[in-house]
């Protein structure tokens, strides 16, 4: 009886794993096939491995340019979110000041706001600031939308730090800024990692904001380039599949290397709610 249920458990798990993996694997393999073989033999290994699609994507400018743009946009977003969010969360957690509750609620309200609501006015604003088609035009709104969650997570961590730390720092004549930099931040590596990963994965994959705020293909992150690419070469599936696979490589490597932090980062927002 027990082994029966453990077999059926394994069966379900393998089945679901198959549903997850088969599309991914066939896409990666599809990049090695010709159009004809893709039609005749979509699941199996290629009869003959055609490297042309991967090579032409790897030697072309487009893939690297778009990945570079993605790195710029997402690291810029992470950096800005961290710096600005840390300062604010520190003030909420460690400084006693007038209007604290109200200002804190103001930021939390941001968690409610769908980006879609703001997208058209954002376009107008970014255009009027002259930032359309520039990295800042995407980084600033993206960081602003991630700020609520970042402040919430960082604040939750900062306020658990022992009060004695600050008392000791004051006696040594320490300012808030030095206290944050030399005492709080070194203690906060885990939460900084969590917030960074959260912001990084979201901005690496972000689509609607860059789609609206960037117009020239030279500035596109991979999410926009891959859409353009699949539109232009719509009949050349092997080429598209190779390109898709290559754009996924950084994310998959990052996931396998930093899986623990990623799971923590992406679910902590949910668990803290």
């Amino acid at each position: 009886m027990r082994s029966m249920s453990s077999y059926s458990r394994l069966l379900v798990l393998v089945l679901v794993a198959g549903i997850v993996l088969v599309p991914l694997v066939t896409v990666a393999l599809g990049g090695f096939k010709t159009m004809g073989e893709l039609e005749a033999n979509p699941f199996g290994l290629p009869v003959q491995w055609h490297w042309e699609n991967y090579l032409s994507a790897l030697t072309g400018r487009r893939l690297w340019l778009s990945l570079g743009n993605s790195v710029l946009l997402s690291f810029g977003t992470v950096f800005l979110t961290l710096v600005v969010g840390t300062m604010a969360a520190f003030a909420f957690a460690q400084i006693h000041f007038f209007g604290k509750r109200m200002i804190f609620s103001y930021f939390l309200m941001g968690l409610l706001f769908p980006a879609a609501t703001a997208i058209l006015p954002l376009f107008i604003r970014v255009r009027n600031l002259g930032l359309l088609d520039t990295p800042w035009g995407v980084i600033l709104p993206q960081a602003a939308f991630g700020l609520g969650m970042a402040i919430l997570l960082l604040w939750g961590f900062f306020k658990q730090l022992p009060e004695a730390l600050w008392d000791a720092a004051v006696i040594d004549g320490c300012s808030y800024g030095r206290f944050l930099w030399y005492v709080v931040l070194p203690l906060s590596r885990p939460i900084l990692a969590t917030v960074s990963v959260f912001a990084l994965v979201h901005s690496w994959n972000s689509y609607l904001l860059p789609l609206t705020l960037l117009n020239s293909p030279g500035t596109y992150p991979w999410t926009l380039t891959i859409m353009d690419y699949s539109g232009e070469y719509s009949t050349d599936w092997p080429g598209i599949l190779a390109f898709i696979t290559l754009t996924l490589v950084p994310a998959i490597i990052f996931f396998l290397v930093a899986q623990k932090q990623i799971v923590a980062g992406l679910t902590s927002g949910a668990v803290k709610g």
Binding site: I95, S105, P114, A118, P121, A144, I252, A270, G273
Partner: protein, 312 residues
């Protein structure tokens, strides 16, 4: 929600400090707080709060985005919206996504979480696999499944030919395409919800389950009366994220169907993008944005009030 955290008062209570000193210190604290909060406040106000307020304002104009809005049309954008059959189908599709998220994705995530909650090596591997789609970009997921569903070269077509039936062009069929969208949504997000449940399961003390077992509870009884009630905080968070995510679904749909064929698979946001943003109908698109906003905020407030009541 907004408790004031650790409050550090620089002066020990009862120290012989004069009032003016205290006042000066309070002023100093307020100035310091202002300095720390200024960048966040400016960024958040300029790029989140003001745009949302402006969306409400623009939604009463007909405007192509140049100059300043002058063509006041009152509620006309909203009326156009509510009389639009594509909007109605977008609303229906969005409701379907919510329903499938709640009725398929969450039970699936929960069942799998129960199967892989123990920290064995094989469980870890399955967890990694199940979580993978969540980490991959929505756009890539959409394109991958466009290939899977493609009527000529796709996997579904090949599978259909193998069992001897005609290959269906799922994405080209206005009646079927939405099911493709729903499939991809479940595929993409079930692992995320599974992780929420695993975190919840690991918070349940071992003794609770063992006690139930000792008392002779069957597996089903221990699930129904011990595990599920204790998992309720995780479940309600996962419901919340499913609904709010479904209401804003966009990235997956664009590469998969782009809202087509014949506008059959629009969600609220792809509708807004197609008819508001690409055509620079700022007023109309903003009206759609306001509707999304109202639905999200109403849901969140009601959910907080009635479901998350006892949560911090």
């Amino acid at each position: 929600m907004s408790g004031t955290g650790a409050i550090n008062i620089a002066i020990p209570v009862g120290s012989p400090t004069r009032r003016s000193d205290k006042r000066r210190l309070a002023l100093g604290r307020n100035l310091a707080a202002g300095g720390f909060l200024a960048p966040a406040t400016i960024l958040f106000t300029v790029f989140v709060v003001l745009p949302v307020v402006e969306a409400a304002w623009y939604s009463f104009y007909r405007w192509n985005g140049y100059g300043i809005p002058t063509d006041w049309v009152g509620w006309r954008n909203y009326l156009t919206l509510f009389n639009n059959s594509v909007f109605a189908s977008a609303a229906w599709n969005t409701a379907l996504v919510v329903a499938v998220s709640l009725l398929v994705q969450l039970p699936l995530g929960l069942a799998l979480a129960l199967m892989v909650a123990r920290n064995s090596r094989s469980s870890m591997i399955f967890r990694t696999i199940f979580f993978l789609p969540y980490v991959l970009g929505e756009v890539a997921a959409g394109l991958i499944w466009r290939f899977v569903f493609d009527g000529n070269v796709g996997l579904m077509a090949a599978a259909a030919r193998k069992i001897g039936i005609e290959a269906p062009f799922i994405l080209a069929d206005p009646d079927l395409a939405i099911y493709a969208v729903l499939t991809v949504v479940v595929w993409k997000y079930f692992g995320f919800h599974m992780m929420i449940y695993i975190a919840g399961l690991q918070d349940i003390p071992r003794e609770m389950r063992e006690a139930a077992e000792i008392d002779g509870a069957s597996r089903w009884q221990s699930l129904r009366y011990v595990i599920l009630p204790m998992l309720w905080p995780a479940i309600r968070i996962s419901i919340f994220f499913s609904v709010v995510g479904a209401l804003q679904l966009f990235d997956v749909v664009m590469p998969l169907t782009g809202g087509g064929p014949s506008n059959a698979t629009h969600t609220f946001v792809t509708f807004q993008y197609t008819f508001g943003i690409t055509r620079m109908n700022i007023g109309f698109g903003s009206a759609m944005g306001v509707v999304i906003f109202l639905i999200c905020v109403t849901f969140t407030l009601l959910y907080r009030r009635f479901v998350m009541r006892d949560a911090g």
